[in-house]
């Protein structure tokens, strides 16, 4: 497990190289429509207070929609995955609703809830629901048959099989579904603010672009990306401690 605690030097070197190439390219073009990295950093620090406020609004909405989706869809997905008799009928309906792009239901949400937080949170809930649901269904359905048979041969009861075999086998995919759901929630939180422009980062991006503030727009994008990275790092760390056994196994494969 020491491998995971090593500092990611290749990542740092590659990222710095990329930023350097960007700055050099921008300097050689030298046009306000292609600002370099330093110009974007400058825009970022100049408007930092406003960016933090707007990002906070976006995050609170994203978190609310995500929490609702998690509370409803995780138990539902496990139930559907474990009950194929019901799943066979429910899954086509899921497949029918799932591909409705969350941004496409923005007009519907607007009709019923206006442009405020309720409309946006419903859209976020809708978008985060499906990664969580689909992964929970897939994960709980496809346990490796060998493991199941071993469990049966050594005389485990049904509840013991669920707890000792199905749950650990399903965990990696369930957790990656939850992680995707969280990513999508933040993503849609921003996007919904672009269409229902009242406040938040999406609105910030729209304003920046209307005023041809390309450096400002990139600063907004960078803020979203950095905050997402911070959230993802925390979530990954939680995932790793939950799934330490899983990573220990794949670590062995590289011996």
């Amino acid at each position: 497990m020491t491998r995971h605690k090593q500092f990611n030097w290749p990542g740092l070197v590659f990222t710095i190289g990329l930023l350097f190439a960007w700055e050099m390219a921008a300097r050689s073009v030298n046009s306000p429509s292609f600002p370099g990295f330093l110009a974007v950093l400058q825009a970022l620090t100049q408007d930092a207070a406003n960016l933090v406020t707007q990002m906070g609004i976006t995050l609170v909405r994203g978190a609310a929609g995500f929490a609702l989706a998690l509370a409803v869809m995780l138990p539902l997905g496990i139930f559907i995955g474990r009950t194929p008799r019901i799943g066979r009928y429910v899954e086509p309906a899921i497949d029918l609703l799932r591909p409705l792009p969350p941004l496409a239901i923005v007009p519907v949400a607007m009709l019923f809830a206006g442009t405020g937080s309720v409309a946006k949170i419903s859209v976020i809930f809708y978008s985060a629901a499906f990664p969580i649901l689909i992964n929970a269904i897939d994960a709980t359905r496809a346990t490796h048959p060998l493991l199941l048979n071993v469990g049966r041969s050594i005389g485990l009861s049904r509840s013991e099989i669920m707890r000792l075999i199905d749950l650990p086998a399903a965990m990696p995919q369930i957790v990656s579904g939850v992680r995707l759901g969280l990513a999508v929630a933040l993503l849609v939180s921003v996007s919904s603010e672009m269409l229902l422009s009242t406040d938040g980062m999406g609105n910030y991006l729209m304003r920046a672009q209307e005023q041809f503030q390309i450096a400002g727009g990139l600063a907004g994008i960078l803020t979203i990306a950095l905050v997402s990275l911070a959230i993802n790092t925390v979530v990954l760390r939680i995932e790793r401690s939950l799934l330490a056994w899983h990573h220990a196994r794949h670590g062995m494969a590289h011996v």
Partner: protein, 255 residues
């Protein structure tokens, strides 16, 4: 009951619920039209040339971007699984990109790409590749140690193990990633068409919603659902062709 019966039952149940909600009079009818009104709007829609042009454009954009993202995403993941330094070099960048809303890139991308095909290809590719890359690299990393050791004992080299042992074992999870990306591709196509739009189904939806042609709006949402099912069916068919053995094993165990 034949295989197509269950989705039909599922769809009928959904439509019945919808109509019951409309007839309960708890929501204003002009916002939530009944099934007959939506079907009428759908028939009119299907008769118009404008609709088919939009449908063809949207599907071509989504499928093209998805294919490009699958090829590049799996290719990168193979490289990353083979040479860990590649995965680690890319990791900060991927973590930054994965939660960036594709929609947020639309206005800035218009400056870079104009309103042509390359704009949509870029946005949709961007929306798909990270989910595919992450699922592929995760699955390739978590190979069964036993399988890898057996292959090594048989004298397979690193590339042969990667392509003939770890990649086949990873297909089920990769196809789940592609399934999520397929939904993402339609969402990105529609989002880009709504924000940048002058054509495509996303533009038609935006147009119908803001002209308050509500039945047409819901009919278009139905079309989005059908498109998603179509794309999903195509992905599942590809999954059966490539990873069917995994599903057969799972089915045998539950028999």
């Amino acid at each position: 009951m034949p295989a197509w019966g269950r989705p039909l039952v599922s769809l009928a149940g959904f439509l019945l619920l919808w109509q019951a909600l409309v007839m309960s009079d708890r929501v204003p009818q002009e916002y939530l039209p009944g099934v007959p009104a939506i079907v009428k709007a759908l028939i009119e829609l299907v008769g118009s040339k404008e609709f088919w042009t939009g449908e063809a454009l949207t599907l071509a954009r989504a499928v093209g971007g998805l294919l490009l993202a699958s090829a590049t995403g799996i290719g990168l993941a193979l490289l990353g699984a083979r040479y860990r330094v590649v995965e680690r070099a890319l990791s900060p960048l991927v973590q930054l990109m994965v939660s960036l809303p594709p929609a947020a890139l639309v206005p800035l991308s218009i400056f870079a790409f104009g309103l042509g095909a390359s704009l949509f290809t870029f946005i949709i590719w961007f929306a798909c590749i990270w989910a595919i890359y992450l699922s592929a690299v995760n699955a390739l990393k978590s190979s069964e140690p036993v399988q890898v050791h057996v292959a090594r004992t048989f004298g397979y080299g690193d590339w042969a193990i990667l392509l003939r042992v770890r990649l086949p074992a990873a297909w089920p999870e990769i196809s789940s990633g592609i399934r999520i990306a397929a939904a993402g591709s339609l969402m990105a196509a529609v989002a880009a068409e709504m924000l940048a739009g002058k054509d495509g189904l996303g533009f038609l939806l935006y147009d119908s919603a803001f002209s308050l042609r509500i039945p047409e709006m819901f009919a278009l949402l139905g079309v989005f659902g059908l498109n998603g099912m179509l794309l999903n069916a195509a992905v599942m068919r590809a999954r059966r062709a490539i990873a069917g053995w995994h599903d057969q094993l799972a089915a045998m165990a539950s028999a």
